[in-house]
Symmetry: C2
Subunit: 341 residues, 2 copies
Amino acid sequence: MNLKELSQNLGLSQTTVSRALNGYPEVSPATRARVEEAARAFNYRPSNRAKGLATGKALAIGHVIPVSNKHEMVNPVFGDFIAGAGETYSRHGYEMILSIVDDEDEEQVYRGLKSRRAVDGVIVHGPRMDDPRIGLLHDLGLPFAVHGRASGVGQPYTWLDVNNRSAFARATAFLYDLGHRRIALINGLEMMDFAHRRRDGYAHALIERDLPLDPMLMRSGEMTEDFGYRSTAAMLDGGGPPTAILCSSLISALGVRRAIEERGLRMGVDVSVVTHDDVLSYLQNGGDVPIFTATRSSVREAGRRLAAMLLDHVANPLLAPQNQLLEAELMVGQSTGPAPS
Amino acid sequence: MNLKELSQNLGLSQTTVSRALNGYPEVSPATRARVEEAARAFNYRPSNRAKGLATGKALAIGHVIPVSNKHEMVNPVFGDFIAGAGETYSRHGYEMILSIVDDEDEEQVYRGLKSRRAVDGVIVHGPRMDDPRIGLLHDLGLPFAVHGRASGVGQPYTWLDVNNRSAFARATAFLYDLGHRRIALINGLEMMDFAHRRRDGYAHALIERDLPLDPMLMRSGEMTEDFGYRSTAAMLDGGGPPTAILCSSLISALGVRRAIEERGLRMGVDVSVVTHDDVLSYLQNGGDVPIFTATRSSVREAGRRLAAMLLDHVANPLLAPQNQLLEAELMVGQSTGPAPS
DNA sequence: AATCATGTTCAAAGCGCTTTGGATGACGTT
DNA sequence: AACGTCATCCAAAGCGCTTTGAACATGATT
């Protein structure tokens, strides 16, 4: 069923039917009701494609997911973020189109999306330090919104980020207040902006308290379970082991706990652990009392919000760039306690 | 830059330029070269939208992700599967469009995709027993391919699945051969088809060996870390604890290990564990010697293949339904050993 | 009675592409 | 010289929508 058939069925012109359906005022209430009724009856849905051609809008938002051909890592956060964003899109009648892209082709993909007019805007995932994509999208004139920020990029742009710096500074202070003096950081890849900021918050909190930065206590890598395990094992087995560990991901924290318990130590007693928790749906941090003390911020909620911000921009291109900085909650769980004496 | 502008630039008709670019024979080699050169120079890309309108093809595949409004769970496997499928799509010039959908609206979404002609086909995720979606898509005449199977659906359809039954039967036999007689199953939700089949393989292997099915040793739930932990803890603390555990997901297996080690037992010595491993990129099963003995099958590879199968069908609608049954590898790691005497 | 505003509807153009059904020459055949 | 045959190329229609500009009643105003 298309517009033409529908309008013939109704004995009306396509113009009128189109207007009736799209809420234009110059249609009598009676006609509008009749049209809407018929549309429902015939299960008519306008073709997005044709609509897009006619209006110049794509009614779609692009998500470009870079997948490095080296480590083939798909960010575990991705599924939940997408789910959040998707909720917003379907509420607004937008489609989400996903491009999985080899790192190196990323620029070509953005150019392609633009020149094919495939999307009205894009979400930028996983910004790195000085991320070149932001400049590129700016130049292309393709509306975009960034999940995170890119330190080193001068021009303003729309982003939503967790206050990673403050979260990790607070977590560090929290551990300090419990008496911990050797606090380790198990961080993500520090070329990633979020990891950089977390380290920054951690380092500042230490310095503010006249504690030294011990390179032996700072690790950075891809946040797998195994990485958490190895890092912790190495630090606990080495000289001057930490009494507390700050960890960048719940998955790695599972490895951290494993290394701790494997050594006959108790988490929350012998070694305290604070982790960041993205509130992934398949990785809940315990029940009533969380297992891990955590800086907590839902990535799904982030998806919902950032998508809404981008849609705002698409609807109103003149809007100045918007920013949202979410404060992570510091949730106290069972993994922290006073420093052993 | 659009077709019209490009052809004016070249002093050719749109027809000729279009044909040159799409590899039709009735264009002289010289002209074709000239056109291709210009297209490259101007960075011309045809609008997918317009192309779709003209040809009736959407050049897009839909993935409808049901997100239950109750538990809000996003399948952790999803990211990797999508990544695999995406690789296939971009190689073939297709777009992937994602709909995140509340369980109950799913039918409406499929109808919408069809009547708006938004996609040429869809991938069905997470089939359940007697899944109604298969009948629906059949009736709609929308090409589709299923990741997994749906027991109880009579008509043939295109699917790709891991041989879950055989994998879990083999794993059970493997444990039996190591001397284990009390083998537990920590399974996914058994309304999901894959979980049903795994249980089936497990049960058959036990029965074949004259072992009883002990309901106390069979758990089913959403495969979180916590679920693995609780289930294992309960079984180990109860009467007649298992000496071996078969687990449906690597994430839950982490919880299984935690419960084991928390009790001062050693995995692979006191309690053996075999888990299914989807080879998720952020959850590697150890290094040289895998941590867990596992039935292993890459969900990313599954994505790549199933996408290709669907594209085949879209290209050739007369094709009979295709099926692929992948055998999981049984990888021996450090989590299994002879039953304690 | 002529004019005007108002409310409602429509025909047709246009969005960027593909494709049908010719045109146009160049060339060899009869 | 007239005729097919090819190899190339093109004008125009059509895909399903939106939107412009105009037409047509209707009733109120002069």
